[in-house]
Symmetry: C2
Protein backbone atom coordinates (compact mmCIF):
# COMPACT_ATOMS: atom_id res chain seq x y z
CA UNK A 1 0.00 0.00 0.00
CA UNK A 2 2.62 2.48 1.12
CA UNK A 3 4.84 1.57 -1.83
CA UNK A 4 2.10 2.72 -4.17
CA UNK A 5 1.59 5.94 -2.23
CA UNK A 6 5.34 6.57 -2.15
CA UNK A 7 5.62 5.96 -5.89
CA UNK A 8 2.67 8.23 -6.71
CA UNK A 9 3.97 10.91 -4.34
CA UNK A 10 5.89 12.79 -6.98
CA UNK A 11 6.56 16.54 -7.12
CA UNK A 12 3.61 17.75 -9.18
CA UNK A 13 3.78 21.25 -10.60
CA UNK A 14 0.62 21.40 -12.75
CA UNK A 15 -2.86 21.00 -11.31
CA UNK A 16 -6.56 21.16 -12.10
CA UNK A 17 -6.77 24.61 -10.60
CA UNK A 18 -10.55 24.85 -10.89
CA UNK A 19 -11.03 21.78 -8.63
CA UNK A 20 -11.14 23.20 -5.13
CA UNK A 21 -9.42 21.63 -2.13
CA UNK A 22 -11.29 22.50 1.03
CA UNK A 23 -9.90 23.65 4.36
CA UNK A 24 -11.19 20.50 6.07
CA UNK A 25 -8.90 18.43 3.83
CA UNK A 26 -5.92 20.65 4.62
CA UNK A 27 -6.68 20.25 8.31
CA UNK A 28 -6.66 16.46 7.91
CA UNK A 29 -3.24 16.71 6.30
CA UNK A 30 -1.88 18.84 9.16
CA UNK A 31 -3.38 16.28 11.56
CA UNK A 32 -1.07 13.75 9.89
CA UNK A 33 1.89 16.13 10.18
CA UNK A 34 1.07 16.52 13.88
CA UNK A 35 1.74 12.80 14.38
CA UNK A 36 5.25 12.89 12.91
CA UNK A 37 8.25 12.58 15.19
CA UNK A 38 9.92 15.77 16.36
CA UNK A 39 13.43 16.12 17.77
CA UNK A 40 13.20 16.34 21.56
CA UNK A 41 9.46 16.44 20.90
CA UNK A 42 9.68 20.23 20.67
CA UNK A 43 7.16 20.41 17.79
CA UNK A 44 8.19 23.84 16.50
CA UNK A 45 6.35 23.55 13.17
CA UNK A 46 3.32 25.70 12.43
CA UNK A 47 1.06 25.93 9.39
CA UNK A 48 -0.97 28.42 7.41
CA UNK A 49 -3.68 26.92 5.21
CA UNK A 50 -4.97 28.65 2.13
CA UNK A 51 -7.73 27.76 -0.33
CA UNK A 52 -8.85 31.29 -1.18
CA UNK A 53 -8.44 32.13 -4.88
CA UNK A 54 -7.21 35.65 -4.42
CA UNK A 55 -4.73 34.78 -1.70
CA UNK A 56 -3.62 31.76 -3.73
CA UNK A 57 -2.72 34.14 -6.56
CA UNK A 58 -0.76 36.35 -4.18
CA UNK A 59 1.12 33.35 -2.78
CA UNK A 60 1.82 32.07 -6.29
CA UNK A 61 3.48 35.37 -7.17
CA UNK A 62 6.13 34.79 -4.47
CA UNK A 63 7.24 31.36 -5.74
CA UNK A 64 9.89 30.14 -8.19
CA UNK A 65 9.28 26.78 -9.88
CA UNK A 66 11.44 23.91 -11.15
CA UNK A 67 14.98 25.28 -11.24
CA UNK A 68 16.10 22.80 -13.92
CA UNK A 69 13.35 23.75 -16.40
CA UNK A 70 14.92 27.01 -17.50
CA UNK A 71 12.39 27.62 -20.29
CA UNK A 72 9.37 27.13 -18.09
CA UNK A 73 8.14 30.00 -15.92
CA UNK A 74 5.89 27.79 -13.79
CA UNK A 75 2.29 26.62 -14.13
CA UNK A 76 0.02 28.69 -16.35
CA UNK A 77 -3.35 30.04 -15.29
CA UNK A 78 -5.75 27.13 -14.98
CA UNK A 79 -3.05 24.70 -13.91
CA UNK A 80 -1.90 26.44 -10.76
CA UNK A 81 -2.28 24.99 -7.24
CA UNK A 82 -5.78 24.94 -5.77
CA UNK A 83 -4.45 25.21 -2.22
CA UNK A 84 -1.33 25.88 -0.20
CA UNK A 85 0.07 24.87 3.15
CA UNK A 86 2.79 27.27 4.30
CA UNK A 87 5.17 25.55 6.71
CA UNK A 88 6.59 27.76 9.45
CA UNK A 89 8.83 27.29 12.43
CA UNK A 90 8.05 28.99 15.73
CA UNK A 91 11.57 30.24 16.41
CA UNK A 92 10.80 30.60 20.13
CA UNK A 93 10.78 26.82 20.55
CA UNK A 94 12.97 25.54 17.73
CA UNK A 95 16.47 24.03 17.71
CA UNK A 96 17.78 25.10 14.29
CA UNK A 97 19.83 21.91 13.84
CA UNK A 98 16.75 19.76 13.88
CA UNK A 99 14.11 21.92 12.22
CA UNK A 100 14.89 20.65 8.72
CA UNK A 101 14.50 17.04 9.82
CA UNK A 102 11.22 17.77 11.61
CA UNK A 103 10.09 19.59 8.50
CA UNK A 104 10.86 16.65 6.22
CA UNK A 105 9.15 14.12 8.48
CA UNK A 106 6.01 16.25 8.75
CA UNK A 107 5.85 17.25 5.08
CA UNK A 108 6.14 13.62 4.00
CA UNK A 109 3.05 12.76 6.05
CA UNK A 110 1.23 15.69 4.44
CA UNK A 111 2.23 14.73 0.91
CA UNK A 112 1.47 11.03 1.32
CA UNK A 113 -1.88 11.99 2.81
CA UNK A 114 -2.54 14.22 -0.18
CA UNK A 115 -1.79 11.35 -2.58
CA UNK A 116 -4.12 9.05 -0.65
CA UNK A 117 -6.86 11.64 -1.27
CA UNK A 118 -6.22 11.82 -5.03
CA UNK A 119 -4.25 15.04 -4.67
CA UNK A 120 -0.57 15.77 -5.10
CA UNK A 121 1.86 18.44 -4.13
CA UNK A 122 5.20 20.07 -4.56
CA UNK A 123 7.60 21.41 -1.94
CA UNK A 124 8.76 24.89 -2.83
CA UNK A 125 11.75 26.40 -1.08
CA UNK A 126 12.54 29.20 -3.51
CA UNK A 127 10.23 31.84 -2.06
CA UNK A 128 10.28 35.62 -1.88
CA UNK A 129 9.95 35.35 1.87
CA UNK A 130 9.57 39.03 2.66
CA UNK A 131 6.75 39.35 0.19
CA UNK A 132 5.01 36.18 1.38
CA UNK A 133 5.27 37.44 4.95
CA UNK A 134 3.36 40.55 3.89
CA UNK A 135 0.76 38.64 1.89
CA UNK A 136 -0.13 36.41 4.83
CA UNK A 137 0.72 38.86 7.63
CA UNK A 138 3.12 36.35 9.16
CA UNK A 139 4.53 37.50 12.49
CA UNK A 140 8.28 37.86 12.96
CA UNK A 141 8.40 34.99 15.45
CA UNK A 142 7.74 32.55 12.61
CA UNK A 143 10.38 31.55 10.11
CA UNK A 144 9.04 30.62 6.67
CA UNK A 145 10.41 27.14 5.90
CA UNK A 146 8.56 26.02 2.78
CA UNK A 147 5.39 26.29 0.78
CA UNK A 148 3.48 23.14 -0.16
CA UNK A 149 1.52 23.60 -3.38
CA UNK A 150 -1.46 21.25 -3.58
CA UNK A 151 -4.18 20.22 -5.98
CA UNK A 152 -5.24 17.38 -8.24
CA UNK A 153 -2.26 16.69 -10.48
CA UNK A 154 -2.59 17.61 -14.13
CA UNK A 155 0.65 16.05 -15.26
CA UNK A 156 2.33 12.68 -15.46
CA UNK A 157 5.58 12.28 -13.56
CA UNK A 158 7.70 9.18 -14.04
CA UNK A 159 10.73 7.88 -12.17
CA UNK A 160 13.59 6.82 -14.42
CA UNK A 161 16.95 5.27 -13.59
CA UNK A 162 19.90 7.68 -13.64
CA UNK A 163 21.67 7.26 -16.97
CA UNK A 164 25.34 6.41 -17.55
CA UNK A 165 26.28 10.12 -17.57
CA UNK A 166 25.09 10.42 -13.97
CA UNK A 167 22.85 13.40 -14.71
CA UNK A 168 20.15 13.79 -12.06
CA UNK A 169 18.39 16.83 -13.54
CA UNK A 170 14.69 16.26 -14.11
CA UNK A 171 13.36 17.08 -17.58
CA UNK A 172 10.16 17.20 -19.60
CA UNK A 173 9.60 15.33 -22.84
CA UNK A 174 7.69 16.40 -25.96
CA UNK A 175 4.43 15.11 -24.47
CA UNK A 176 5.06 17.22 -21.34
CA UNK A 177 5.68 14.10 -19.26
CA UNK A 178 8.00 15.02 -16.40
CA UNK A 179 10.96 12.62 -15.93
CA UNK A 180 12.87 12.28 -12.66
CA UNK A 181 16.12 10.28 -12.73
CA UNK A 182 16.52 8.45 -9.44
CA UNK A 183 19.69 6.76 -8.26
CA UNK A 184 19.55 2.97 -8.06
CA UNK A 185 19.04 1.13 -4.79
CA UNK A 186 22.56 -0.27 -5.11
CA UNK A 187 24.00 3.22 -5.38
CA UNK A 188 22.16 4.28 -2.22
CA UNK A 189 23.19 1.29 -0.11
CA UNK A 190 26.83 1.71 0.85
CA UNK A 191 27.10 -1.51 2.85
CA UNK A 192 25.08 -4.40 4.26
CA UNK A 193 26.23 -6.12 7.43
CA UNK B 1 -5.01 3.86 5.94
CA UNK B 2 -2.19 6.34 6.21
CA UNK B 3 -3.74 7.88 9.32
CA UNK B 4 -3.41 4.52 11.06
CA UNK B 5 0.20 4.12 9.90
CA UNK B 6 1.01 7.67 10.98
CA UNK B 7 -0.56 7.11 14.39
CA UNK B 8 1.26 3.80 14.91
CA UNK B 9 4.52 5.28 13.72
CA UNK B 10 5.73 6.26 17.16
CA UNK B 11 9.33 6.41 18.36
CA UNK B 12 9.78 2.92 19.79
CA UNK B 13 12.78 2.30 22.02
CA UNK B 14 12.17 -1.28 23.21
CA UNK B 15 11.98 -4.22 20.83
CA UNK B 16 11.72 -8.00 20.61
CA UNK B 17 15.43 -8.26 20.01
CA UNK B 18 15.36 -12.00 19.32
CA UNK B 19 13.01 -11.54 16.35
CA UNK B 20 15.29 -10.96 13.41
CA UNK B 21 14.68 -8.39 10.69
CA UNK B 22 16.26 -9.52 7.45
CA UNK B 23 18.33 -7.51 5.00
CA UNK B 24 15.68 -7.94 2.29
CA UNK B 25 13.22 -6.04 4.48
CA UNK B 26 15.73 -3.25 5.08
CA UNK B 27 16.29 -3.03 1.34
CA UNK B 28 12.55 -2.65 0.79
CA UNK B 29 12.55 0.23 3.27
CA UNK B 30 15.42 1.97 1.49
CA UNK B 31 13.53 1.44 -1.77
CA UNK B 32 10.77 3.56 -0.22
CA UNK B 33 13.30 6.18 0.88
CA UNK B 34 14.62 6.25 -2.68
CA UNK B 35 11.22 7.47 -3.88
CA UNK B 36 11.10 10.48 -1.55
CA UNK B 37 11.59 13.96 -2.95
CA UNK B 38 15.07 15.45 -2.82
CA UNK B 39 15.97 19.13 -3.12
CA UNK B 40 17.19 19.81 -6.66
CA UNK B 41 16.88 16.03 -7.03
CA UNK B 42 20.49 15.72 -5.81
CA UNK B 43 19.75 12.58 -3.77
CA UNK B 44 22.76 12.83 -1.44
CA UNK B 45 21.50 10.28 1.10
CA UNK B 46 23.20 6.92 1.51
CA UNK B 47 22.47 3.98 3.80
CA UNK B 48 24.22 1.23 5.70
CA UNK B 49 22.04 -1.72 6.66
CA UNK B 50 22.82 -3.93 9.62
CA UNK B 51 21.14 -7.07 10.94
CA UNK B 52 24.25 -8.79 12.30
CA UNK B 53 24.09 -9.39 16.06
CA UNK B 54 27.67 -8.53 16.82
CA UNK B 55 27.70 -5.39 14.74
CA UNK B 56 24.31 -4.43 16.19
CA UNK B 57 25.90 -4.55 19.65
CA UNK B 58 28.77 -2.37 18.49
CA UNK B 59 26.35 0.17 16.95
CA UNK B 60 24.23 0.13 20.10
CA UNK B 61 27.27 1.11 22.17
CA UNK B 62 27.58 4.38 20.22
CA UNK B 63 23.99 5.57 20.87
CA UNK B 64 22.32 7.66 23.57
CA UNK B 65 18.61 7.10 24.15
CA UNK B 66 15.63 9.21 25.21
CA UNK B 67 17.12 12.42 26.58
CA UNK B 68 14.08 13.16 28.77
CA UNK B 69 14.16 9.77 30.57
CA UNK B 70 17.11 10.62 32.83
CA UNK B 71 16.82 7.43 34.91
CA UNK B 72 16.75 5.12 31.92
CA UNK B 73 20.04 4.10 30.25
CA UNK B 74 18.32 2.74 27.13
CA UNK B 75 16.92 -0.66 26.21
CA UNK B 76 18.19 -3.64 28.20
CA UNK B 77 19.58 -6.79 26.61
CA UNK B 78 16.74 -8.66 24.98
CA UNK B 79 14.83 -5.49 24.11
CA UNK B 80 17.41 -3.83 21.91
CA UNK B 81 16.94 -3.17 18.16
CA UNK B 82 17.10 -6.18 15.85
CA UNK B 83 18.37 -4.05 12.96
CA UNK B 84 19.73 -0.66 12.08
CA UNK B 85 19.73 1.64 9.09
CA UNK B 86 22.49 4.23 9.32
CA UNK B 87 21.63 7.34 7.30
CA UNK B 88 24.57 9.08 5.65
CA UNK B 89 25.04 12.03 3.36
CA UNK B 90 27.51 11.88 0.49
CA UNK B 91 29.11 15.27 1.10
CA UNK B 92 30.38 15.39 -2.49
CA UNK B 93 26.87 15.94 -3.80
CA UNK B 94 25.00 17.52 -0.90
CA UNK B 95 23.75 21.06 -0.32
CA UNK B 96 23.92 21.36 3.48
CA UNK B 97 20.85 23.62 3.69
CA UNK B 98 18.61 20.93 2.30
CA UNK B 99 20.10 17.72 3.65
CA UNK B 100 17.99 17.78 6.82
CA UNK B 101 14.79 18.12 4.81
CA UNK B 102 15.78 15.30 2.44
CA UNK B 103 16.65 13.23 5.48
CA UNK B 104 13.25 13.78 7.10
CA UNK B 105 11.32 13.00 3.92
CA UNK B 106 13.26 9.77 3.35
CA UNK B 107 13.23 8.61 6.97
CA UNK B 108 9.48 9.07 7.18
CA UNK B 109 9.03 6.71 4.24
CA UNK B 110 11.31 4.19 5.96
CA UNK B 111 9.51 4.42 9.28
CA UNK B 112 6.01 4.25 7.81
CA UNK B 113 7.15 1.26 5.74
CA UNK B 114 8.45 -0.38 8.90
CA UNK B 115 5.10 0.13 10.63
CA UNK B 116 3.28 -1.37 7.65
CA UNK B 117 5.44 -4.48 8.14
CA UNK B 118 4.65 -4.80 11.86
CA UNK B 119 7.95 -3.21 12.83
CA UNK B 120 8.74 0.12 14.39
CA UNK B 121 11.71 2.38 14.78
CA UNK B 122 13.34 5.28 16.47
CA UNK B 123 15.46 8.07 14.99
CA UNK B 124 18.65 8.54 16.99
CA UNK B 125 20.73 11.65 16.54
CA UNK B 126 22.82 11.47 19.68
CA UNK B 127 25.62 9.28 18.35
CA UNK B 128 29.30 8.91 19.11
CA UNK B 129 30.01 9.55 15.47
CA UNK B 130 33.76 8.91 15.53
CA UNK B 131 33.24 5.55 17.15
CA UNK B 132 30.41 4.57 14.81
CA UNK B 133 32.59 5.53 11.86
CA UNK B 134 35.19 3.04 13.10
CA UNK B 135 32.68 0.28 13.80
CA UNK B 136 31.26 0.42 10.28
CA UNK B 137 34.43 1.62 8.48
CA UNK B 138 32.57 4.62 7.10
CA UNK B 139 34.63 6.64 4.64
CA UNK B 140 35.31 10.32 5.31
CA UNK B 141 33.24 11.40 2.32
CA UNK B 142 30.08 10.37 4.18
CA UNK B 143 28.59 12.43 6.98
CA UNK B 144 26.69 10.41 9.59
CA UNK B 145 23.23 11.97 9.83
CA UNK B 146 21.22 9.58 11.97
CA UNK B 147 20.76 6.00 13.06
CA UNK B 148 17.37 4.33 12.67
CA UNK B 149 16.85 1.60 15.24
CA UNK B 150 14.38 -1.03 14.07
CA UNK B 151 12.58 -4.11 15.34
CA UNK B 152 9.19 -5.34 16.45
CA UNK B 153 8.09 -2.91 19.16
CA UNK B 154 7.96 -4.24 22.70
CA UNK B 155 6.35 -1.20 24.24
CA UNK B 156 3.16 0.79 24.07
CA UNK B 157 3.47 4.41 23.06
CA UNK B 158 0.47 6.73 23.33
CA UNK B 159 -0.09 10.25 22.07
CA UNK B 160 -1.56 12.60 24.69
CA UNK B 161 -2.64 16.23 24.43
CA UNK B 162 -0.17 18.74 25.85
CA UNK B 163 -1.37 19.69 29.35
CA UNK B 164 -2.14 23.19 30.64
CA UNK B 165 1.47 23.63 31.80
CA UNK B 166 2.64 23.32 28.20
CA UNK B 167 5.19 20.61 29.03
CA UNK B 168 6.12 18.62 25.91
CA UNK B 169 8.55 16.17 27.57
CA UNK B 170 7.64 12.56 26.97
CA UNK B 171 7.43 10.33 30.05
CA UNK B 172 6.82 6.74 31.11
CA UNK B 173 4.13 5.64 33.52
CA UNK B 174 4.24 2.91 36.18
CA UNK B 175 3.20 0.30 33.60
CA UNK B 176 6.09 1.42 31.37
CA UNK B 177 3.69 2.90 28.85
CA UNK B 178 5.47 5.72 27.02
CA UNK B 179 3.47 8.97 26.79
CA UNK B 180 4.11 11.65 24.19
CA UNK B 181 2.36 15.02 24.61
CA UNK B 182 1.50 16.43 21.20
CA UNK B 183 0.36 19.98 20.55
CA UNK B 184 -3.25 20.35 19.40
CA UNK B 185 -4.17 20.88 15.78
CA UNK B 186 -5.40 24.36 16.66
CA UNK B 187 -2.03 25.26 18.17
CA UNK B 188 -0.27 24.13 14.97
CA UNK B 189 -2.53 26.01 12.57
CA UNK B 190 -1.68 29.70 12.74
CA UNK B 191 -4.21 30.83 10.16
CA UNK B 192 -6.73 29.59 7.61
CA UNK B 193 -7.47 31.68 4.54
Amino acid sequence: MLDRLALNNRSYRRFFEEEPVDLATLRELVALARLAASARNLQPLRYILCTDRHTNAAIFATLAWAGYLKEWPGPAEGERPAAYIVVLSDTAGAVPTYVGIDQGLAMQNILLGAVERGLGGCILGSIQRGRLREVLAIEDRYEILAVLALGRPRETVVVDPVGPDGDIKYWRDADRVHHVPKRSLDELIVAEV
